[in-house]
């Protein structure tokens, strides 16, 4: 290291002679912080997304590295949000990658006092069987001699946090099953 480099590496010198007299930026950089990069800098790709919380619809940039989401930030391109996120939107990384998320199907048998793990495929088969049974049990061809062609045996609640495409399939499937008791947060 030459003298010049050595002097230049001294923060107080840089603070007094450089463009950062308050020592809050370039002057304060150490060799260590010089080498630091934001975690988004090494992302493999940036995926365009939308905040999942309220209905303002702020744009999000989702940073992916090694097939893992590493950061979620506001999208400056969005004319809705201009890059901003609120505390909830800024916590989207925890929402999507936090360890509070369950990753396994759980099953509680009738009268049981604890959960048991269950295979996803088995769970889907069991649910399909139960949908058919409850649908038949609650079937009403008529009510007061008027044709209704419906079932009150099954119901669903939810949709306000889902995608339009998901709501579309839910409404279509349940309607074909004859179920009418579909509701979501819009009326709660």
């Amino acid at each position: 290291m030459g003298i010049r480099t050595w002097i230049d590496s001294w923060p107080v010198y840089r603070q007094l002679t450089g463009s950062d007299p308050l020592g809050r930026g370039a002057a304060a950089k150490s060799a260590h912080s010089e080498r630091l990069t934001p975690r988004v800098a090494t992302a493999d790709r940036v995926v365009k997304s939308v905040c999942p919380y309220c209905a303002v619809g702020c744009g999000q940039n989702v940073y992916v590295q090694d097939e893992r989401v590493t950061q979620i930030e506001g999208d400056p391109d969005s004319p809705v949000s201009r890059g901003r996120l609120c505390p909830k939107g800024a916590a989207s990384l925890q929402l999507t990658t936090g360890d509070a998320r369950e990753r396994q199907v759980l099953h509680r048998r009738p009268y049981a006092t604890e959960w048991e793990p269950l295979d996803l495929g088995t769970a889907m088969d069991m649910i399909a069987d139960r949908v058919i049974e409850a649908r038949r049990a609650g079937w009403q061809w008529t009510v007061d001699e008027t044709r209704t062609r419906r079932t009150l045996g099954i119901a669903s609640l939810g949709g306000a946090t889902l995608d339009n495409e998901e709501n579309y399939l839910i409404k279509k499937l349940f309607t074909a099953l004859g179920a009418i008791q579909l509701e979501n947060q819009a009326r709660v």
Partner: protein, 821 residues
């Protein structure tokens, strides 16, 4: 808005920086109040009196926008002689059937009928809508507003002046409400009151105007447009009613307006049936209309809970919703789930709706025992928005596509995956069935391409079905192309165009800074990528903008078409002086001066002859549970409010002058905080958010704290006729005591995000609520009710149930209390 939609609030701040005045009306002082020019605390549940007071001011001072009102509203129409207003009948309208809680709307109609109503362009006929309005709101004076709402008349006058000074040819005023306005037994009439005011002021269909619902979920608008709701099909087509709609012809006839875009009901409906049942839907079988299940009444989530208690509803699927703490009268919701055969919970974490059977409040009180609960529960982890493709519709009707970034972990799957594969498995099991019951499932168009190792359905293929296509399979670009003969399919007519040219228009992301202020190339707004609805009204009857500064769309006589920044809400070549032939129907019957194209007369409704259950005009009624009598009318409560059965856990309270009302002397209201989301399923498990708001609390004024011995950061017990809960106490000047009807009123603020699970915990405010609903849309009254509050923690175990019972006894409450018409 700064609390719950902070990023949207930046635009309010931009407007303020350009000179706009900001008024915040809210019982509590919030981050919005801190930035407002005027904060107006009022008694929760009195907004119709408040808005009605502004209407009164506008009419009395002749501040309405006369040219707009005459040209674009029903103000000149004359009512029938047998219509009687609340002023004539002690607070109810003519046609009330009190015993059955319904109105016969015959007398609410126009003289001469809807087809050829009598008119008075001078607006002086005593029975014309404008004069009826004047009489209806005559007693909504500043003095009355002060007595009912607790808003001093000087402050109220300031609001009236600001609103009217900032409305007219050039300035516009916007009203923004969070959906708390809808959560009242008169919720729809709250919105109507704002609509009457904004229409009188000419603030609809114009930039900077409108009544803007600030909705609280990423796609709650979308789940209303493409409804997971019992009474609607996609695009606001009603679900068929068993008695009124025996076949497609009857359904179409009942839903077809003589004029405007509901004139094309058959095209929308047939195209939807084609999307549902594909080749099986043919003209000779009514396009499978008979496959649709029919309604015989209301089937909201609250009636569904009752059906669960009755044992009729046996299976329940929850998609990202948490009724065990998020619905009103949460106990009834849990008891309903405890009587199911099976429950499927799809969510990120083990929310209260998944675990009530082992650790819910009824286990603690001993009312339920885990080993006695029969319900089989499946918890299926859900994929996050970063793990799936799809579109959200935001609160301004903007469909924005989010792209999948990574695969979901473990067993987590999208709801698209769950629903598609559930349907596939059910269809496999029913294959070969000859039971007529199963035909709709077997004939269902359910072939969606899947991709990847998880067999995830292609969301864009579903979007393409929603958009619709012609007989050759080419994507449609507009609902104008839909046909009534089965040659087009469309899963949601108002979304037609979102996949125009086979391109996902919702995924468009031209940066905002590269566009004008409308930013039409960012995503796609329904309908037709139109950003401001009814924007024909932004120009005068001759098609010229009301002002240069507020120009949005205008008639270009040289080109012979409408031009402007936004997509015009009128056919491009329909000249302002166009008058339709007498025999025209549907959209063709709209003239060049009919901006309100979804209305059967093309005009904004200051008065609503058809379509509302509880009156053609808003009238102030007290909330179901209120410490005050109704000063305006003899009628205390909305006479046709929807009451659910008065179950032991859904008792109503005495109100006003009724004996026992003094047991619940404080008004309470629920609301959200910046740092949490709805019932907490997406925020109480996030360490950052839990740290910012670690537990449930209530907000009370120093006056109330002194009156009841409540200590800051100590505990309070809050009681209603339904439940008792406890909360940490926040003593703050942000809760302003009001003077109402000569007495000091304290209000209790209750953020409602909590439950016992997650990192940030507490009791659920929704435990306190009753099931008394708006009769039009069946939404519960969660924003204004009456409670008692006392210091200390609530009792545990059976003592908690005993405390609520003791309160009921003291207030003399039985199954009849509060149920009068």
């Amino acid at each position: 808005m700064a609390e719950c939609h902070p990023v949207g609030f930046q635009w309010v701040m931009e407007a303020k920086a350009r000179g706009a005045k900001l008024i915040h009306v809210d019982p509590r002082f919030t981050r919005t109040s801190a930035l407002a020019d005027v904060h107006v605390p009022l008694r929760a549940g009195t907004d119709i009196a408040f808005l009605g007071g502004i209407v009164h001011y506008v009419l009395e001072q002749d501040k309405y926008f006369r040219e707009y009102v005459v040209a674009y509203t029903n103000a000149p129409l004359i009512l029938r002689e047998d219509f009687h207003d609340t002023e004539d009948l002690g607070g109810v309208f003519s046609g009330l059937d009190a015993a059955n809680r319904t109105y016969d709307t015959g007398s609410w109609q126009y003289e001469g009928g809807a087809g050829a109503p009598a008119r008075d362009e001078t607006l002086t006929h005593p029975r014309c809508v404008l004069q009826v309005l004047k009489r209806h709101f005559a007693r909504y004076t500043p003095e009355l507003v002060e007595e009912v709402c607790g808003v001093p008349r000087g402050l109220f006058r300031q609001v009236c002046e600001l609103v009217t000074e900032n409305s007219g040819c050039d300035p516009t005023t916007a009203f923004a409400y969070a959906v708390g306005w809808t959560q009242h037994t008169v919720g729809v009439q709250y919105i109507r009151a704002a609509a009457v005011l904004q229409t009188l002021l000419g603030n609809i269909g114009r930039p900077g105007g409108g009544i803007l619902a600030l909705r609280g979920h990423a796609s709650i608008q979308g789940s209303t447009d493409i409804p997971t709701l019992y009474n609607l099909l996609p695009g606001y087509i009603p679900m068929p009613d068993a008695r009124r709609h025996p076949d497609l012809a009857a359904f179409v006839e009942a839903g077809t307006a003589p004029k405007g875009y509901w004139g094309n009901m058959r095209a929308y409906m047939v195209s939807l049936l084609k999307a549902y049942w594909g080749a099986a839907a043919r003209a000779d079988n009514d396009f499978c209309f008979d496959y649709l299940p029919r309604l015989t009444g209301s089937h909201s989530a609250y009636e569904t809970a009752l059906a669960q208690l009755d044992g009729v509803c046996k299976g329940y699927v929850l998609f990202g919703e948490n009724p065990a703490v998020g619905n009103a009268d949460a106990k009834v919701m849990r008891l309903g789930m405890a009587n199911l055969d099976w429950l499927v919970v799809r969510d990120f974490s083990l929310i209260e709706s998944a675990t009530w059977w082992k650790d819910g409040p009824e286990i603690e009180t001993g009312e339920l025992r885990c080993a006695d609960i029969r319900t089989e529960v499946f918890f299926l982890p859900a994929a996050a928005h970063t793990e799936k493709d799809g579109s959200f519709t935001n609160t301004q009707r903007l469909l924005q596509w989010h792209h999948q970034a990574v695969e979901p972990p473990g067993d987590a799957r999208s709801d698209l995956w769950f629903t598609y594969h559930l349907g596939r498995l059910v269809r496999e099991r029913l294959a070969g069935s000859t039971d007529e019951m199963d035909r709709p499932m077997l004939d269902l168009a359910w072939d969606y391409p899947t991709k990847g190792g998880l067999a995830e359905p292609d969301a864009e293929a579903v979007l393409a079905e929603i958009n619709g296509h012609d007989a050759e399979g080419a994507p449609l670009s507009s609902y104008e192309q839909l046909k009534p003969d089965g040659s087009t399919t469309c899963g949601c007519w108002i979304y037609c165009g979102v996949y125009a040219d086979g391109v996902n228009q919702a995924a468009r992301r031209r940066p905002g800074r590269e566009q004008d202020w409308v930013a039409a190339e960012w995503a796609w707004a329904w309908p037709a990528n139109r950003r401001i609805l009814y924007n024909r009204a932004s120009a005068d009857p001759r098609g010229r903008p009301w002002s240069t500064r507020k120009a949005l769309v205008w008639w270009d006589p040289d080109k012979g078409e409408w031009s402007g920044y936004d997509v015009p809400d009128i056919k491009r070549d329909k000249a302002p002086d166009h008058r339709p032939p007498e025999d025209a129907t549907g959209p063709a019957a709209l003239s060049g001066t009919d901006p309100f194209i979804m209305q059967a007369d093309g005009k904004a409704a200051l008065y609503v002859p058809t379509g509302l259950a509880d009156g053609p005009l808003p009238a102030h009624y007290e909330p179901q549970d209120s410490p005050f009598p109704n000063l305006l009318y003899h009628q205390q409560r909305n006479p046709v409010r929807q009451l659910l059965p008065s179950l032991p856990d859904n008792r109503y309270q005495p109100s006003g002058d009724e004996p026992g009302a003094e047991v619940f002397p404080y008004v309470a209201t629920t609301y959200r905080l910046t740092e949490h989301h709805t019932a907490g399923g997406m925020s109480r498990w996030q360490p950052y958010l839990a740290e910012l708001q670690p537990e449930f609390f209530c907000e009370v004024s120093p006056g109330l704290a002194a009156e009841r011995g409540l200590e800051h950061t100590g505990w309070a017990t809050i009681v209603s006729a339904r439940a008792v809960i406890e909360a940490r106490v926040l003593v703050t000047d942000r809760m302003t005591p009001l003077t109402v009807q000569g007495r000091r009123l304290h209000q209790v603020g209750l953020p409602y995000h909590w439950g016992p699970n997650g990192y940030s915990t507490g009791d659920a405010a929704n435990e306190l609520l009753h099931l008394s609903l708006d009769p039009n849309v069946h939404i519960q009254e969660s924003k204004a009710f009456a409670v008692d509050i006392r210091p200390g923690r609530r009792p545990r175990g059976p003592a908690s149930v005993a405390l609520v019972r003791a309160y009921r006894r003291r207030a003399g409450i039985d199954e009849h209390t509060g149920t009068e018409p």
